[in-house]
């Protein structure tokens, strides 16, 4: 039980993570491509794909011994799952011939490739977490970190079957969830969600914009309820 | 002993057989109803078995109908003949046990000279049926269960017999009626008011007998052969409907028989203090007294069953060979010494 008062999220500088960032920009050296610090929330470090395993080792030796998870992100333009004939989906079919367009401008730590691998580690002594990222190149291969963290074994298998990313040095990249004969990589953005194509998702209706003339009225209602609740104990 | 009625041999045998055929299912039903439905449901706060019909009496019928209407399934690769025979062999062992159980001075199917010895011998027959069931089911879990059962029953047969030896030495007879008589006419250091129930002088033997019986009956904490969470039900995993019911009846029938053996050997059987052993009244009262004693012993068997976790196979074997058998041997030696000295 810590006696710290709940930290005011934005006001105080996050000294703990800033010190970490400084430490790692030194120890990782050229491997560190980019970093992002969200005060009091998390620290992102993007390293080069070649130094992936070494970077993980370096970070581990700095006290980040607790393995959280490993996964991947596909930055391909998403069809957003609306397999319906809306204006949103009309542009989809032409995409086949064009080179894959990626947009990872919103991702923390930036990136240049469609696929990114990320791993989350904890330092128990510092009580702080850290997210490492790396770009996956055209060959769709990165080094395995199974030798550093045995727990990464299954996570890499999952990333392999779901995204088609290979992990160099991983002995058993068999599918974990999917049947052996399954073709395709379901978590890629271009993998169609067949059920959604057969039957449109009724939930789409829910998220339609509210007509403008009703918005003000609804807002007032919500506010009234909010005020009314405020008095209740 | 006086004979109550003088009947021709075949009539007497017929009556005895008919009685046995009625008594055996009834006794197992009594145990199932009383302990499995009532006591267990009460102890485990389960509502169902106390709620079906008046006082939950219809639960038994419901269960029986449920089992009888189920399809009799054979696994595709099973050895059919052996598969079908196995529950019958197990049940036959139970039936044979009942032959020597005395319920009164004359109320016994066959008063064998070597009653205890006979009981031990036929109780070991059930292993055969369990092995048959395990092998013929063509299922790895069943086979493992059968093998476990065999290993366990062989190991616990020994302490069981050795525990009985103490009683036999003290009673100077293998005859179950003789053992009852020995307890009724016996004295503890000169005091004969309550006879000499061997539970007092052979308490160690009683403990060993009860533990070994628990293992013979494959009840928790020795229920590895049928452990659901490990072997999914062990040797009877592939059995359904009536054949499963046979196993079930055999299990409870044998539990009843072992409780009866324990009450005959350690609690004085059908004898009530204050009565003469040859009293004809005991032929009428005896079965009731026996039943009360049997239910008392069975209560402990099932109480342990519902309360304890399960041992592991190697722990079970270690317990048998390193604890129970040396203790039983020590008991025999001690009994022998006392017998000679006093």
């Amino acid at each position: 039980m810590t006696d710290e008062a709940p930290a005011e999220e934005t006001a105080l500088p996050d000294e703990k993570r800033e010190a970490l960032l400084a430490h790692f920009s030194e120890s990782l050296g050229e491997s560190l491509v980019e970093s992002h610090l969200q005060p009091h929330e998390d620290l992102w470090l993007r390293v080069t794909a070649e130094s992936w395993q070494d970077s993980i080792r370096t970070v581990k030796s700095a006290g980040f011994e607790y393995f959280g998870f490993l996964s991947a992100i596909d930055w391909d333009i998403a069809p957003e799952g609306r397999y319906e004939d809306t204006e949103f989906d009309s542009g989809l079919e032409e995409e086949d011939d064009e080179p894959v367009e990626i947009d990872n401008s919103t991702g923390h730590g930036g990136g240049d490739s469609r696929f990114q691998i990320l791993a989350q580690l904890y330092s128990l002594s510092r009580q702080v977490g850290l997210i490492l990222k790396t770009d996956v190149g055209e060959d769709m291969t990165v080094e395995t970190i199974r030798d550093v963290f045995p727990g990464a074994d299954w996570h890499e298998r999952e990333a392999h079957e779901m995204f088609g990313i290979s992990f160099r040095g991983h002995p058993t990249l068999q599918p974990l969830y999917l049947p052996t004969e399954f073709e395709g990589h379901p978590l890629r953005k271009d993998f169609p969600l067949l059920a959604r194509q057969v039957k449109p998702w009724p939930g789409v209706v829910d998220i339609e914009e509210i007509p403008e003339h009703l918005e003000a009225q609804l807002e007032a209602e919500v506010m009234a309820a909010f005020e009314a609740n405020g008095g209740a104990s | 002993m006086t004979t109550l009625l003088a009947l021709p041999y075949w009539q007497e045998t017929g009556i005895k057989l008919g009685l046995a055929l009625v008594v055996i299912p009834t006794t197992s039903l009594i145990l199932v109803y009383l302990f499995l439905f009532k006591m267990m449901a009460f102890m485990q706060s389960r509502l169902g078995p106390n709620d079906t019909g008046p006082y939950g009496t219809l639960q038994l019928i419901a269960e029986a109908i449920k089992f009888l209407q189920k399809e009799d399934i054979h696994p595709a690769q099973a050895d059919r003949r052996v598969f079908r025979m196995a529950p019958v062999v197990v049940l036959a062992s139970t039936f044979l046990l009942y032959v020597v159980l005395p319920a009164g001075p004359d109320a016994v199917v066959e008063d064998l000279d070597t009653g205890v010895f006979y009981a031990m011998a036929v109780s070991s027959l059930s292993v055969l049926g369990i092995l048959m069931a395990g092998w013929a089911s063509a299922n790895k879990y069943a086979l493992l269960g059968g093998l476990r059962a065999a290993g366990q029953l062989i190991a616990y047969e020994l302490p069981l017999i050795l525990a009985v030896m103490g009683v036999v030495i003290q009673a100077e007879t293998l005859n179950l009626q003789g053992i009852v008589e020995a307890q009724a006419t016996g004295e503890i250091f000169g005091f004969g008011g309550i006879g000499n129930p061997f539970i007092l002088t052979q308490f160690l033997a009683f403990l060993i007998f009860m533990i070994a019986a628990q293992a013979e009956l494959t009840q928790t904490p020795f229920d590895m052969p049928v452990a659901e969470t490990e072997l999914v039900g062990g040797f009877h995993v592939e059995y359904t409907g009536f054949r499963f019911l046979l196993f079930f009846m055999a299990e409870f029938g044998t539990a009843f028989a072992f409780s009866a053996l324990a009450s005959v050997m350690f609690l004085g059987g059908w004898w009530i203090p204050g009565f003469d052993v040859d009293d004809n009244i005991l032929n009428v009262l005896g079965p009731g007294v026996m039943l009360a004693k049997i239910l008392l012993v069975a209560f402990f068997i099932f109480w342990v069953r519902f309360t304890y976790p399960r041992l592991r196979e190697d722990q079970l074997q270690k317990f048998a060979w390193k604890v129970l058998i040396p203790l039983a041997l020590a008991n025999i030696v001690l009994t022998g010494i006392f017998k000679v000295v006093f």
């Binding site: 039980m1 810590t2 710290e4 929330e41 998390d42 011994e65 393995f67 959280g68 998870f69 996964s71 992100i73 998403a78 957003e80 799952g81 947009d103 919103t106 991702g107 989350q120 128990l124 009580q127 977490g129 045995p150 727990g151 969830y177 999917l178 049947p179 004969e181 399954f182 379901p186 978590l187 969600l193 067949l194 059920a195 959604r196 998702w201 829910d206 998220i207 914009e209 609804l218 506010m223 909010f226 209740a232 104990s233 | 706060s45 690769q77 299922n139 790895k140 086979l143 493992l144 928790t220 452990a227 490990e230 519902f306 309360t307 304890y308 976790p309 399960r310 041992l311 196979e313 722990q315």
Partner: protein, 390 residues
């Protein structure tokens, strides 16, 4: 999944089931035993392919995916509020606790904070689902090693906790009660007193379990020294929750990385056990259940007054960004890595479930143990299938 792949999956499953039967010959050497996918001890559809030498395990390889529902993909085609419906079904025994980290992560991205009253009630419900979840474990562990009675007690007493959750949320298993910015509703009148009396009953239940199992020699003989996981191995595999703490690692996200819930407002302690065996895991969970009832008791005393919902727009659009947020769920660390592009729904959700990491240690820990110990270890690691397969 499509109908074809469903059929394929079924064919695959049934071929594996046929495999469980004895083949033509059986050698004393090696034997393959499939524990699961339909096995009473795997409570769900986990399959352990074990190579046995006699009754000793040579290799045990968990095979799953029989229940994989693709939640990560499905979340990508739903709005944020719709996602919680799916998320409820990950660890179905502690459903409310599943919603919290997702909602908190979304709130973090939106820079919204729920009012204190909502945070307190969240914490109370979170701890109640912990009690409900762990109570079942406490009884179920008995069944795994052959004691039938504890599980019935567990079902009986868990019901009381579920009733309390139901009274607030309307759902016993899948409350779907947490909202971005607060909660759907306030607690009903009289609920605080009722919950307090339920917590007293749950402490009695914990005492019963202590008498029935922890103090039992056979239970100790079966669990002590079985499936020992040293702390460094536990950290490397990313074990979390009681499994980690039973290995002597003093780490609890409620204390060490509190995302703003009310845990730091009350007095409680983190339990650890140095042994790292099955017994230690049971013991730690027992203490945690008891501790959770104390936390609830204290929280009930000090629920602040105020609104239960922050001011959020009716149509929730989460600003672009990434956030990882995890909480200490009944099973361990449950976290959501949300990638948002400023749309109505998440762009990518990575669900870090505790059971996935906890079960990934199985091949390591099950080398050379006996078949009965496989069950003990599986039981003590405590997994929920939906939590592995997502």
């Amino acid at each position: 999944m499509t109908a074809t792949s469903d059929r394929e999956q079924m064919a695959y499953v049934s071929s594996q089931a046929a495999d469980a039967r004895v083949n033509v010959e059986l050698d004393t050497g090696d034997m393959t035993l499939n524990i699961g996918p339909q096995h009473p001890a795997t409570h769900g559809t986990l399959r352990l392919a074990c190579r046995l030498d006699g009754e000793q395990v040579v290799v045990a390889e968990p095979i799953m995916g029989y229940m994989h529902r693709g939640y990560e993909k499905l979340c990508e085609v739903r709005t944020y509020p719709q996602c919680t419906t799916l998320i409820n079904r990950i660890d179905w025994l502690g459903s409310f606790a599943n919603e919290v980290p997702f909602i908190l992560a979304a709130e973090r991205l939106m820079e919204v904070e729920a009012p204190p009253r909502a945070q307190w009630i969240r914490t109370i419900l979170f701890e109640l689902s912990r009690v409900a979840n762990l109570a079942l474990f406490l009884g179920d562990m008995g069944v795994q090693i052959g004691a039938l009675t504890p599980v019935f007690f567990a079902f009986r007493d868990r019901e009381r906790v579920l009733n309390q959750i139901e009274e607030v949320t309307g759902g016993r298993f899948h409350p779907n009660f947490d909202r971005i910015g607060g909660l759907k509703d306030d607690i009903p009148k009289g609920w605080v007193e009722e919950t307090r009396s339920v917590m007293v009953k749950m402490r009695t239940f914990c005492d019963e379990m202590e008498d029935l199992l922890v103090g039992n020699e056979i239970f100790q003989a079966r669990c002590r020294g079985v499936g020992v996981i040293p702390p460094e191995v536990a950290l490397g595999y990313g074990l979390s929750g009681a499994n980690l703490r039973a290995s002597g690692v003093d780490w609890d996200l409620r204390r060490d990385a509190n995302p703003g819930l009310a845990w730091d407002q009350v007095d409680w302690r983190v339990w650890t056990h140095p042994d790292g065996d099955s017994f230690a895991r049971y013991w730690v969970r027992l203490q945690e259940t008891r501790e959770a009832t104390h936390i609830v008791d204290q929280l009930l005393d000090g629920i602040p007054s105020g609104p239960i919902m922050a001011k959020v727009p009716r149509i929730i659009k989460v600003p672009a960004g990434e956030a990882y947020l995890s909480t200490e769920n009944p099973l361990g660390e449950m976290g959501y890595y949300i990638v948002s592009k400023g749309d109505l729904g998440p762009f990518r959700v990575k669900i870090r479930t505790p059971s996935f990491n906890n079960i990934s240690i199985v091949p390591w820990v099950m080398k050379g143990v006996y078949v009965p110990d496989v069950i003990t270890i599986l039981g003590s690691l405590y997994f929920i299938l939906g939590d592995i397969d997502r």
